[in-house]
């Protein structure tokens, strides 16, 4: 009982202090109004703003409409109304705040306030105007203003007695139509993000991503295409790749697109066509046969009939999987001067002939010293080589022994000293063959060739496919040699034939590391 009395006394003291501290009715003050914490917000009035008056527009009747939000574009007086729904204070005032309404306990200064006198009776409505011209700036400032009703509370405080309504002072948005413009074309990036260039022009590698950058290029993605022109003729269009599209810090848009594999290498003009028009043009050089197709070529030395069986063994099995545009008697130029037309025109080359360390007889009298050859997309400046995999079904071509004091690795790949000389691994991924003599015996050669094709078709890595094929066939050769070896750049160690369009590496790339998997 004593504690209940003590609690009642404490509450009455607290309420008394609150009453002393609380200011009088808002309408009577121009200074800061503090809304004391703990005041009950009854909201007996439903406050609304008149959005449209009842009027006629020519012969169309526009009824009056009320709501809780109104946008005005010029300074004017605004009409409000409120209806009493429950017990109301003796007098009522309005308050106008910039931005949001103050929370309970928060101190905020209204930009305008005024007494509305005695409120209407229960369920009755009173309308009034607030002259916004007195405090709005001359031009729309884009801000919102909140209006509410307050009344005196018991003990001298105030009661918030309505909801808030919003008046925003802003102009109608003006539609600005996009105006696409092309700032630059960015060549295909190398593995480290550096742009590839050809004769100072962006170099677009076939089947790889390049970029076009500018403004208003991607307003309607479905209707945006990158066009390639020869003269004034559009020869190809490609859609940007959505996942490769990004906004640059400058606000420009960077569109990623895949260079069409069907374009012949050469110089083109590039532009972007959008639903808002076409951009200007910029030059770009399209190169490379890193195309989406899968091709292999087969070359046979005319020195022995068994070589026909080797290449034919592979071809018979694999031509149903990849296309085979070339099946020729071998010539040294296929790997040398004309490699772009021959070995480097496809993704895989299968060659059979007599061999020696880093040396292949393409045909009688036509030997090829492999350290003098360059194979793959980095074999020429215009990146038109395509070859990834090469098989030398021959003796000893993949020997790991030194030749004239030069280690095998330096014969096949570049070093700092030989970086400007030809070497087979100039974009090439994997070279396969034997590090020892190869015997055919009772058909080891053709067996290995067949088996290699089967392994590729089963989806094993290229490296595994060759090694296991050669190893499985070895026993048909009797009891000698036929020890397989595979040279590969490390990123391609587990690569399957279907992944031949992966990045090609060259000297200077951190991953340009030539490894060997071999039978000792």
């Amino acid at each position: 009982m004593r504690s209940a009395v003590r609690r009642a006394l404490l509450i009455s003291v607290a309420v008394g202090f609150a009453g002393l501290l609380a200011p009088g009715p808002a309408a009577a003050r121009t200074g800061t109004i503090a809304v004391p914490r703990g005041v009950v917000v009854l909201k007996p009035f439903a406050l609304e703003i008149q959005i449209t008056r009842d009027h006629w527009q020519k012969d169309i009747h526009i009824p009056e409409r009320w709501g809780t939000e109104l946008r005005i574009e010029e300074r004017k007086s605004v009409h409000f109304g409120f209806k009493q729904r429950a017990g109301a204070p003796a007098t009522v005032s309005y308050q106008v705040f910039i931005g949001r309404l103050p929370k309970t306990g928060e101190i905020a200064r209204p930009v305008a306030s005024g007494s509305l006198g005695k409120p209407p009776g229960l369920n009755n409505t009173r309308e009034f105007d607030i002259d916004f011209t007195k405090f709005l700036p001359a031009q729309p400032n884009g801000r919102t203003y909140h209006v509410r009703l307050v009344g005196p509370a018991d003990g001298g405080g105030i009661t918030v007695c309505s909801n808030g309504v919003v008046v925003s002072y802003k102009q109608q948005d003006v539609t600005v139509f996009p105006s696409p413009s092309l700032t630059r074309v960015v060549g295909t990036a190398d593995p480290y993000g550096k742009e590839l260039k050809w004769d100072q022009k962006p170099l677009l590698m076939s089947a790889h991503i390049f970029r076009v950058e500018g403004t208003d290029l991607y307003e309607v993605p479905a209707e945006t295409v990158v066009q390639f022109l020869k003269g004034s003729q559009v020869v190809k269009e490609v859609h940007p790749v959505a996942a490769q599209t990004q906004t640059l810090p400058s606000g420009e848009v960077s569109l990623g697109a895949t260079t069409p594999s069907t374009l012949d290498p050469g110089l083109y003009m590039v532009r972007v066509k959008t639903s808002w028009g076409v951009t200007g043009q910029a030059p770009a050089y399209v190169s490379g046969r890193e195309d989406a197709d899968h091709q292999f070529v087969g070359y046979v030395s005319n020195e022995e009939d068994r070589f026909v069986g080797y290449v034919c063994g592979f071809r018979d099995e694999f031509k149903g999987t990849w296309s085979n545009p070339q099946y020729y008697w071998g010539e040294a130029r296929f790997l040398g001067a004309d490699h772009l037309t021959f070995a480097d025109s496809a993704d895989l080359a299968y060659i059979a002939g007599h061999g020696a360390p880093s040396y292949i007889k393409m045909s009688a009298g036509q030997g090829c010293w492999l350290p003098d050859t360059a194979l793959g997309s980095h074999s020429t400046l215009d990146h038109t080589g395509d070859l990834e995999y090469i098989v030398f079904h021959s003796c000893s071509v993949l020997s790991l022994a030194d030749v004239d004091g030069v280690p095998w690795r330096e014969r096949w790949a570049h070093t700092y000293a030989t970086r400007n000389d030809p070497r087979p691994f100039s974009g090439l991924h994997v070279a396969m063959g034997f590090r020892t003599t190869h015997h055919n015996g009772a058909g080891a050669g053709r067996w290995a060739a067949d088996e290699f094709a089967e392994n590729l078709e089963e989806g094993h890595s290229v490296r595994y496919s060759w090694y296991e094929a050669a190893e499985d066939a070895r026993y048909l050769a009797g009891w000698t040699d036929n020890k397989p070896a595979v040279f590969y750049l490390r990123p391609h160690k587990y690569e399957k034939a279907g992944q031949h369009n992966s990045t090609d590496f060259k000297y200077g790339d951190a991953d340009y590391l030539l490894d060997a998997y071999y039978m000792k």
């Binding site: 068994r306 690795r409 015996g441 089967e454 078709e457 039978m519």
Partner: protein
């Protein structure tokens, strides 16, 4: 007119003959001697016991089931090799040690009548298979062909040290014998055994020595019948040298010889065979020369048969006597002549076509423009 035609035809034949014998073919004395010996020998052709091969297949599939779920693995049928390949990737690595033994259960009957044989069947001992969780999925392959069974786990981890050849051979032999995967008789048994290494040679950086390391050791068992090698038979067991985990198990053309009725269980096993009429020495020499000519083409300077060894070749049904001839062919090469050796195999029991079953004649390439 007729005379001129005859003269022209003679020149044509002469030219063709000269072109065809562009290089010299030499049959060495020891090869000639081997040819004579084979021609005078009574040859035979053995019949194979396919029931035993099926038993080996059952055992091998049972063992493989400890690593792969063949019913869930992706599979591909090869018409060319008459086999089914199963491929599976697993997030766990089943370590299969050579000490693992299949548990023998009941026995199954094979054959009919008096020739019924009881073959032990087996089941896997799951406690012997140790399972490890691995971060990189392990790729496994199993090939199931008519006479070719091969399990392989692609796992290339650096070995700290190699097993000695004796140790590796003992482990492999114990595993094969203990699981009935190697069947021998007095006449048909393991010949030469040797160990091959699979190695990786990694580039470290320019000017630095490469990192050359061992990843797998394969023990290869060759087969001898009557003391002569079967050139296309082998059994291979590959290990990761540190853990001794079996990475390769291959059973290739090693079908036991069929025993004569009633010979089973007797002390001297007598395999079933058919006598083969040996070719005459001159005929055999002519075949060797023709084969060398056919294989060596038109551009060699010399092709010499330097060595000949009598051997066997296993087909799907039988074991055939063959003669293996080593030929050293010399062709013009970089900065002079290069010489290569290759082997020719001649079927002494008939046509050489048996070496290439189901194979079509290769289509010749064309000349590039």
């Amino acid at each position: 007119m007729r005379t001129w035609c005859l003269v022209l035809a003679c020149f044509g034949i002469l030219g063709a003959t000269m072109a065809a014998s562009a290089g010299e073919i030499v049959i060495s004395a020891n090869v000639q001697s081997a040819i004579q010996a084979e021609a005078s020998r009574s040859l035979k052709q053995f019949t194979l016991d396919k029931g035993q091969m099926e038993h080996t297949r059952t055992l091998m599939r049972t063992w493989v089931s400890g690593s792969m779920d063949l019913s869930a693995a992706s599979k591909r049928v090869s018409q060319r090799f008459n086999r089914t390949s199963y491929m599976q990737r697993s997030d766990t690595d089943k370590v299969r040690l050579p000490a693992e033994r299949l548990q023998r259960t009941t026995s199954e009957a094979t054959g009919v009548g008096r020739n019924v044989k009881r073959l032990a069947t087996a089941r896997l001992d799951p406690r012997a298979v140790k399972t490890l969780k691995v971060s990189t999925p392990v790729q496994m392959v199993f090939r199931d062909g008519a006479s070719h069974l091969k399990f392989q786990k692609v796992k290339e981890t650096r070995a700290k040290a190699a097993l000695t050849e004796a140790e590796a051979t003992q482990l492999a032999r114990g595993f094969l014998d203990g699981n009935l995967l190697l069947k021998q008789t007095e006449m048909d048994k393991v010949g030469r055994v040797y160990v091959r290494e699979r190695r990786i040679n990694e580039q470290r950086g320019e000017g630095q020595a490469p990192d050359d390391y061992l990843v797998q050791q394969d023990v290869i068992f060759e087969r001898h019948v009557e003391g002569r090698p079967v050139i296309n038979s082998k059994i291979a067991v590959g290990f990761q040298p540190d853990s001794k985990d079996i990475l390769l198990l291959e059973h290739f053309n090693w079908t036991p010889l069929q025993q004569q009725e009633g010979a089973e269980g007797s002390e001297a096993m007598t395999p079933r065979f058919q006598p083969v009429a040996a070719p005459a020495a001159a005929q055999l020499r002519a075949r060797v020369e023709a084969k060398i000519q056919e294989t060596s083409g038109q551009n060699f300077t010399k092709a010499e048969a330097v060595k000949a060894v009598p051997a066997w070749f296993q087909t799907e049904d039988s074991l055939l006597p063959v003669l293996v001839v080593e030929v050293k062919v010399t062709v013009p090469g970089r900065g002079g002549q290069i010489s290569e050796s290759y082997l020719e195999v001649l079927n002494l029991a008939g046509s050489d076509d048996v070496f290439f079953p189901g194979r079509t004649a290769p289509e010749a390439p064309t000349a590039a423009r």
